[in-house]
């Protein structure tokens, strides 16, 4: 059972780090939560020097949760200024005017 907790805690901690770094917002809380649960279970089953690893895993998970919470609360979702896209919009509008005049010519 302890081995299962150890493997699960490690896997979910890695997932927690990955999803925290990637722009998955609060979705990262899923692996973080599971990493904390398995980390605590592992801590309970461990004795003496064995408690070091679950403590590290728990610390990482808590740091990840603080990082994700900070990102969610402090970083505003914004669309980057895209000059290429803006240029395309102007061009398509100019094309549309010509196309409308062609349609008018056919009527």
């Amino acid at each position: 059972m302890k081995k299962l907790f150890l493997i699960s805690a490690c896997i979910f901690t890695v997932l927690a780090i990955t999803l925290s770094v990637l722009p998955f917002d609060t979705l990262a809380f899923l692996p973080i939560g599971l990493a904390i649960v398995f980390g605590l279970l592992l801590l309970k089953k461990s004795e003496g020097q064995q408690k070091k690893l679950p403590k590290i895993l728990l610390s990482i998970s808590v740091l990840c949760s603080v990082f994700v919470l900070g990102k969610t609360l402090l970083i505003k979702d914004e669309v980057a200024k895209d000059t290429q896209f803006e240029k395309e919009k102007i061009e398509t509008k100019q094309e549309a005017k010509k196309e409308l005049e062609e349609i008018e010519g056919l009527e």
Partner: protein
């Protein structure tokens, strides 16, 4: 994302209801936050901007209806989306003359153009790394493109509708006519971005397409006033669920 946008458009197709003839203003801008349900949590993915402006040719004046979809910058490195859907319509009747669609979704591109002449549509489509295709097909007298229909729905007087009332209508999408069934589901109060909390008309959409799933799971809320601003859209598609929530409305 294409499906999300399709739903966003199709859920608004309520034009067969009686209209009160109110025109859509030029200079309007509606901004939505698009979210997708990932493992039970709504994750914001993209911004959808709908705007109107006047475009004049030598002969006529058109209302240019534009819908842009852009992923938030945090997603751009992983899956960048830049879509534009446009319709050029008669400012009074909202009948389309030209519909254009330009999509770029993670490098996959497609350009599409429909030229409306009476009941005939000349379409041109160009996908990435594929030759351009042309097609001519006929549509019904009241069939419109998805964008112009979205605006036409806002000229409808919903105050006369009864709960459960349904209506079937046609839109043209992907060079095909798609029947859409709409159901008026009463009123609800929802958050409407900078407009605050608003009482809204709730409408359920069912389309005979693989893009939509579930009964009464594709919904749109329109403010229960003369402006009928879309405030919230919820959709259910084969790959999950999501929503578009109004964040700001200006020029209405």
């Amino acid at each position: 994302m294409k499906k999300i946008f399709f739903i966003f458009c199709t859920v608004c197709l309520v034009n067969s209801f009686t209209t009160n003839g109110q025109a859509i203003k030029s200079g309007e801008k509606l901004v939505f936050a698009g979210s997708y349900n990932m493992s039970g949590l709504m994750t914001q993915l993209a911004q959808v901007t709908m705007s109107t402006e006047t475009l004049a040719t030598a002969k006529n004046s058109y209302l240019h209806l534009s819908c842009e979809l852009s992923t938030y910058s945090k997603w751009d490195s992983f899956f960048k989306i830049r879509d534009i859907y446009e319709s050029y319509v008669n400012p009074q009747t909202l009948k389309p003359s030209l519909y254009k669609r330009s999509i770029d979704e993670g490098g996959w591109t497609k350009k599409e153009k429909y030229a409306f002449k009476g009941n005939t549509v000349n379409s041109t489509a160009k996908k990435r790394n594929k030759p351009e295709t042309n097609k001519t097909f006929t549509i019904g007298a009241s069939t419109q493109d998805v964008i112009s229909m979205f605006y036409k729905v806002r000229t409808v007087d919903f105050s006369k509708f009864k709960e459960g009332q349904t209506q079937t209508l046609m839109i043209v999408f992907d060079e095909k006519q798609v029947p859409v069934t709409l159901k008026y589901m009463g009123k609800e109060t929802v958050s409407a971005g900078n407009l605050g909390k608003k009482e809204c008309y709730k409408i359920s959409i069912g389309a005979k397409t693989d893009a939509l799933r579930g009964k009464d799971k594709n919904l749109i809320w329109l403010t229960a006033d003369a402006k009928k601003v879309p405030t919230l859209l919820k959709f259910s598609i084969p790959v999950g669920t999501g929503q578009l929530a109004l964040t700001s409305a200006s020029g209405i």
